[in-house]
């Protein structure tokens, strides 16, 4: 008779010790993530229930009053509207433009592909604040190059950054130029997944370029479309540096996105209101959470679609 001696599974402590090196290497990330991400998030939730300027010793618990004040402030809704407008305009623009550029640059007969890819990606790696400052000069209505060109063409001067009608659209245009390179890279990666033999088969069957795209490439890109769109939405909610350096939120709040609104109350107001600003930040966080959940659902749906297609 053979007896089987079953060893007791090692305890948690022993297992931790056995895997100590991976945990040790994870420790710096965990500590830094906790310090610079989790702690500020938790702190801002707590501050949002306080009446506190940020430098007074005295903090008064006011419950939901800051939230009531934020939601009753027309300038908050102005910022919210501008943020949404920014997103609604720039996301389709970036996704469509990025796809168009990627298709162009993915064409096998296009010369200087690498050069063009680099050219489109270069603004992405340029510091946003620098781009903002440079664009102030580019769009200077007195002697900027854009104004000079327009004057040369006989077009009356446009105050691109100083006019409430033009400023937001100018920022949108610069933002799209700056970041479309990232979207292009996403699309280029996605295009590499389209099997070459399927496209060649379509060509053999007499399909035109448009028909190949319409009936072969596009259906295969749909899962990527969902993911790229969701990534772009999230990225386009974070435009503080560009708007701050280009317009500072002006003229008269015409370009004040929510991030600037929060910053103004937390630091730039005559008497800062950190509790109020934190409440606005939490509201923005909730909006981002909804976007994040949408992203999660979208990614899962895209995966299912991709799995079904396969």
């Amino acid at each position: 008779m053979t007896s089987i001696v079953q060893k007791a599974p090692p305890g948690v402590g022993r297992r931790l010790w056995q895997a100590r090196w991976p945990y040790l290497f994870l420790l710096p990330t965990a500590v830094l993530y906790g310090l610079f991400t989790l702690w500020p998030v938790a702190a801002s939730w707590w501050y949002s229930f306080l009446s506190w300027s940020g430098f007074e010793g005295e903090k008064t618990f006011v419950g939901l009053q800051n939230y009531r004040d934020v939601l009753a402030d027309p300038l908050f809704w102005n910022s919210f509207g501008i943020t949404m407008l920014f997103m609604v305009v720039t996301v389709p623009l970036r996704v469509a433009l990025g796809l168009a550029i990627a298709l162009l640059l993915n064409h096998p007969r296009l010369p200087f592909q690498r050069l063009f890819r680099t050219a489109f990606f270069l603004p992405v790696v340029t510091t946003t604040a620098i781009v903002g400052v440079v664009m102030q000069f580019v769009f200077d209505p007195s002697d900027g190059p854009v104004a000079d060109v327009l004057r040369g063409a006989g077009v009356p001067g446009v105050d691109f950054l100083g006019s409430p009608d033009a400023a937001i659209w100018t920022v949108i245009a610069v933002h799209t130029w700056k970041w479309v390179g990232v979207t292009m890279i996403y699309w280029l990666a996605a295009l590499q997944t389209v099997p070459r033999d399927v496209l060649e088969a379509a060509q053999v069957d007499g399909a035109t370029g448009w028909q190949s795209f319409r009936h072969v490439t596009a259906p295969m890109l749909i899962p990527f479309f969902v993911i790229i769109t969701l990534l772009t939405i999230e990225q386009n909610l974070q435009v503080f540096d560009l708007v701050m350096t280009m317009t500072g939120g002006g003229p008269f709040y015409a370009t004040e996105v929510i991030e600037l609104y929060i910053y103004r109350w937390a630091f730039a107001a005559t008497v800062p209101e950190l509790g109020f600003a934190s409440a606005a930040a939490v509201v923005l966080g909730l909006v981002l959470l909804v976007v994040g959940i949408g992203q999660l659902v979208g990614v899962r749906a895209a995966r299912r679609t991709a799995g079904g297609d396969a």
Binding site: L24, F55, P141, G157, L161, S163, P164, A254, F267, V271
Partner: protein, 488 residues
């Protein structure tokens, strides 16, 4: 340890690197408090050094010379940080929160009354108060502003007799446009006409305005409104207040007229086009580069130009704030708050207080005049100094045109608690002027009336929050007279 014949594996290398990095991090964490203790105050810099933060760019050389004098006389070295005024407020907030306030600092960027900060433990009293009092002119120090419970905490180094809406001009551009640089425009209509003449001549734009800087726009309008007859002043919690009644009256006719005048240059097409995107500094640069003939700015314009663009100094001139009818202006300014404050957490209060004695000396006042920032307390030293003639002209104008107003916090220290408890009103006067300029605000009087109502509501709420001992009557000075120093 790896034997000599055994190659170092990647895993071993990573382990070693991790251990080394961890050791270095722990060592770094451990050393910080030691240096803080050694310094007796802040967490960085030379051990034992006094840490000093201010925002007076034109005074940089003077401050360094004063610190050198202090150190040469046996004092500890001074670690001096010159801040951008816009950034210092944030730095102070963070420093106070993390208990790293410098030993001495200015309050730039903090819109909170010093008395409130005093209550929160920001400041330490001056230990050399008697020597400092002896160096100051009589009547310049006020309980509730500079002293708390009788203990002197700070003192002003600049005179309150000054304003920011001086008309600076480029003499060459005026001459090329056929205007006389020796007789600058005195009335609102004169200035508009002169700007039109420059614009028409094609030599430059008429005027450069810092429209992206709401605080400066508010300052212009608060001062221009006084020249149009508004019985008010600027600063010290009194913006927009009718001094005779204590009511907020941003919607007064004088304010509407001042805004109308300030923004008339855009309608006249005489404003430098990029003004909408310029703050005070960038506007000054564009004006100095001959972007426009006229520029509204404070007396420190001369000091900044001397430091940054000395080649421009030879061709600039200055005139007083324009008035609706061209008559000599009469303005009111309340006493200035203290300039430098010692940290309540400083471990070197004695040394810092001794250093501050140097800032009331005649030598420092002469240095202030030569540096051409805000005018010194003793305006008399300017005439005999090496200051540029335009700066001397500014100070001469101030001596004739600016009168000392009441100190709302000086008469009843409880007012400071109300000012500290008041919720900020947004958008404020400067932002509303921007909105009017960009035509986003069309009902000007209605919007300004709302601003008055919002300030009134904010003050009423703060008075209720603070409790007894203060009322709206504390903001009224019925015995104040325009054109006279307020001495009550």
């Amino acid at each position: 340890m790896n034997s000599p014949g055994r190659p170092l594996t990647r895993r071993a290398l990573l382990r070693s690197a991790g251990v080394l990095a961890g050791t270095a991090a722990l060592a770094g964490c451990g050393s910080a408090p030691t240096s803080q203790d050694a310094a007796g105050s802040g967490s960085s810099g030379t051990p034992g050094a006094l840490r000093w933060w201010d925002h007076f760019a034109p005074l940089e050389s003077l401050q360094n010379a004063t610190f050198a004098r202090f150190t040469g006389g046996g004092g500890p070295p001074v670690e001096y940080t010159l801040y951008n005024p816009n950034e210092q407020g944030q730095a102070l907030q963070l420093a106070f929160g993390s208990r790293q306030l410098p030993d001495v600092f200015t309050l730039s960027g903090l819109g909170v009354p010093p008395s409130l900060l005093h209550e929160q433990g920001w400041f330490a009293p001056l230990t050399t108060a008697d020597a400092i009092r002896a160096g100051l002119p009589a009547g310049i120090l006020t309980e509730g502003m500079h002293s708390f419970d009788g203990a002197l905490h700070s003192f002003p180094i600049f005179t309150p007799r000054q304003y920011e809406t001086l008309v600076w001009f480029d003499r060459n551009l005026l001459a090329r446009a056929g205007l006389d640089p020796e007789s600058p425009p005195a009335s609102w209509d004169d200035l508009r006409a002169a700007a039109r003449a420059v614009q028409r001549s094609g030599v430059a734009s008429g005027i450069v305005l810092p429209l992206q800087f709401p605080d400066r726009l508010a300052a212009f309008v608060l001062e221009l409104a006084q020249t149009a007859g508004f019985p008010g002043t600027r600063g010290n919690g009194l913006d927009g207040l009718d001094l005779t009644t204590g009511e907020y009256r941003f919607h007064d006719d004088a304010f509407l007229a001042a805004i109308e005048f300030l923004l008339s240059f855009a309608r006249d097409d005489t404003m430098f086009l990029a003004s909408t995107s310029l703050d005070a500094r960038s506007a000054r640069v564009r004006w100095a580069a001959e972007g426009g003939a006229f520029f509204l700015d404070g007396p420190y314009n001369a000091g900044v130009l001397a430091g940054k663009f000395p080649q421009v100094l030879g061709r600039i001139g200055v005139g007083s704030i324009p008035t609706p009818d061209g008559r000599a202006p009469v303005l009111t300014r309340p006493p200035n708050d203290g300039t430098f404050w010692m940290s309540g957490r400083s471990g070197a209060v004695e040394a810092a207080s001794t250093l501050l004695e140097l800032f009331v000396s005649a030598e420092y006042q002469r240095g202030l005049a030569a540096a051409m920032d805000q005018p010194p307390l003793d305006l008399g030293v300017v005439a005999g100094s090496d200051a540029h003639p335009t700066y001397k002209r500014c100070v001469q104008l101030f001596g004739e045109q600016v009168f000392l107003g009441p100190a709302v916090t000086g008469r009843n220290p409880r007012v400071a608690a109300v000012l500290g408890a008041m919720k900020p009103v947004e958008p404020g006067l400067g932002a509303i002027i921007q909105g009017i300029a960009s035509e986003q605000v069309t009902d000007v009087r209605g919007r300004l009336r709302r601003l008055s109502d919002e300030w009134t509501a904010a003050r009423d709420a703060a008075i209720a929050e603070v409790g007894g001992g203060v009322s709206t009557a504390d903001w009224a000075f019925p015995d104040w007279r325009r054109g006279e120093d307020y001495t009550a």
